[in-house]
Amino acid sequence: MALREVAARAYREALPALAASAAGGLIAGLVLGGMRTELRIVPGLLVLVPALLATRGNVYGSFGARLATGLHQGIIEPRLDLGDTRVRSAVAAALANGLIASAFAATAAYAALVGLGFRVAPLGTLIAIALVAGILSGLALIVAVVTVVFIGYRRGGNPDTLVGPIVTTTGDVFGIAFLLLAVRIVVGGG
């Protein structure tokens, strides 16, 4: 029966990546669960969490998809060459857009919380945390995405299928871990 076949194949093909990403998500959750002190010290931080995680996924997912397309088209080479202006522009654009979106998220969260009459940390603190977390997790994700996509491509893998799982799994873990580090750097303590 075709229906059963379609369903069974889709299930088999999707399960490994979904399970790997869920394992990464649980580790991210463990870090978030251990951040209760920081969440209390910086009111409004929890409101930022979904936006910061989504920014990592959107920016570096798009960065990885761009690298994959460039490799397919043969306009970039799968080796680390900082003289390659295309790769350099893609890296710079990913970092810049990630930082703009992070600062924007902090400002929007602050405005919404003030508007709704909730307790919230000073705007400068939220922006500083979002920017520090954005730089640290951005650098880590660039290294992860470039490494996996280039090495995967050189070994004959399809870079398109590597990008999604890499970004969703490492994005959550790096996103939360560097958020915790950013709070400690900005607010001190820990």
Partner: protein, 183 residues
Amino acid sequence: MSWTVRGITRTLLPVLLILTLVEIGSGLVLGTFESTLLRYPSLLVLVPVTIGTAGNLGSILAARLSTAFHLGLLEFRPTDDELAGNALAIGGLAVTVFPAIGLGAWGLSALTGGAALAMETVVLVAWLSGVVLAVIAIVVTAVATYIAYRLGLDPDDVVIPVVTNTCDVLGVVVLILIVILVI
């Protein structure tokens, strides 16, 4: 495809800022229930993994429907084998993966000395959230793919970001609603 910082930013940034505002909406839902989440660390552990898995279910289905559509294999009828089979697989994935996620979340918070809820409660919350989110992911993805197709847009470009972020946001909302219902 543009490879300059300015060109990339021009296509990426507007969408990125709109999606950020949507995600702040789901952050506000989390913020409203912050005291409950801080009291029960297992629930806090569930937050990123529920958001992520809900978004992944949506993007897996979107990518598969999009490919089937490009290959001319897909018809938008509930009886279509590609559509129904892939939807069934998403349901199956949710029903099997989410209880394991619940067990993992409870186990991790128990190991780190913070499990204030019974194991069955956390597994039930994860499982119910997963079932509801699978239904939402299927409906949102099918509707978004259909609209892209009717508007003559390539589903690859629009459906995945829309579906992933919608499922992210609804992931938080559903998780919180189930928590209120169960606890």
